[in-house]
């Protein structure tokens, strides 16, 4: 089976800062991967390159055998770390917009999630709390039947009960031919959901291993190993 994502020798520099340094990795379909690293380690830069929002200085990226472009973007569902929706829109209008915009958007799934999260489709985005706004955006992204989901800090502002719901939604909804990359600092919350963890440090991959291998080899959870590796 060919890989869903192939990254070959990708580097990116901002002025004098080396944000990514010769990153090579591949991800098979059906995997949930945690992209972990301290602030400024290159997580968001890598994600933006995968989504075509930044150009790498060197190296290649293939998603579902296509270089980053319209074809790859059609199969990537991306949750950015900042909101980009018009706050004056109602939730139902945003859902309609996504349905119009994305062929793979599943409106029923979106409405089910809204009901479970007790969010009124008639409310305007700006009247929602920070956490509820995040839930709406995550719900939109997860309602697409994409091949690669990329979530940048998806659960930071969400209460623990909703976090459980969201993680359960991710587990039960996503197709076994799809993969999901989650960049987050809340490692212990998402750890049981991950197949593999990637540790980024100063733009390079320090570790890329299955969560249970990490636990078996180090006798530690990924969260504890992270705290040890990146001790300040």
């Amino acid at each position: 089976m060919s890989n869903l994502l192939e990254i070959q020798g990708v580097s990116k520099k901002y002025d004098k800062t080396q944000a990514l340094n010769d990153v090579t990795l591949s991800i098979a379909p059906g995997h949930i991967i945690g992209l972990l690293g301290p602030n400024g380690s290159g997580k968001t830069t890598l994600i933006k390159i995968l989504c075509g929002l930044l150009q790498p200085d060197s190296g290649t990226v293939l998603i579902d055998d296509n270089p980053v472009g319209p074809k790859s973007k059609a199969v990537v569902s991306y949750l950015p770390d900042k909101t980009y929706l018009d706050e004056d829109m109602k939730v139902e209008a945003v859902v309609a917009m996504f349905k119009y915009f994305y062929d793979d958007f599943d409106e029923n799934r979106a409405n089910e999630m809204l009901a479970s999260l007790k969010i009124d489709p008639k409310s305007k985005l700006k009247t929602l709390s920070k956490g509820n706004k995040e839930k709406v955006q995550l719900m939109l992204v997860m309602s697409r039947r994409a091949k690669l989901y990329i979530l940048d800090e998806p659960i930071a502002g969400v209460d623990p009960a909703a976090r459980d719901y969201i993680l359960r939604t991710i587990i039960s909804n996503f197709d076994s031919s799809a993969s999901l990359i989650i960049a987050t600092h809340l490692i212990s919350d998402i750890e049981p959901v991950l197949d593999e963890a990637i540790f980024l440090q100063d733009g390079s991959i320090k570790l890329f291993k299955s969560v249970d291998d990490i636990r078996a080899e180090h006798g530690k959870s990924v969260d504890e190993l992270f705290r040890e590796v990146y001790r300040c």
Binding site: G30, H31, I32, D164, L167, R168, I171, S172, S176, E191, P192, V193, L194, D195, V211, D212, R215, A216, G219, K220, S221, E224
Partner: protein
């Protein structure tokens, strides 16, 4: 409610332990059908691939077996379940004696303390 999988040990090992307890306490009865991998994974709050691995490993003990296309079932063999209960009891007792040993008690003293505790 996700399962309590907080220990640092591999997650699939903790899933197996959780299922063993469920079998002994009768959450799953002999011959019961287990939920699908995906449903169990969602219930436990774990990755479906990890659940799959745990269940395949668990099958090697004979306590569950899969029937092609129809799913996984708990064994009907009462002896296997009795053995499982006994092995878990042994683990608990060993752990208890080890911890009491750390507190400076030896075999007879520990048994005395247990009897006193039960009488209270």
């Amino acid at each position: 409610m996700p399962w309590n999988l907080n220990s640092d040990r591999p997650i699939f090992v903790q899933i197996i332990e959780h299922l063993q307890i469920d079998i002994i306490t009768g959450v799953y009865k002999p011959g019961d059908k287990l939920p699908s991998v995906r449903d169990l994974a969602a219930e436990a709050g774990v990755n479906p691939n990890t659940m799959q691995k745990a269940l395949s490993d668990f099958e090697s003990t004979g306590l569950v077996h899969s029937e092609r296309t129809s799913g996984r079932f708990i064994t009907n063999d009462d002896n296997l379940i009795k053995e499982l209960r006994k092995s878990l009891v042994d683990v608990q007792i060993e752990e208890f004696f080890k911890n009491m040993g750390k507190l400076g008690f030896t075999g007879k003293e520990i048994i005395q303390l247990v009897e006193q505790h039960v009488e209270k």
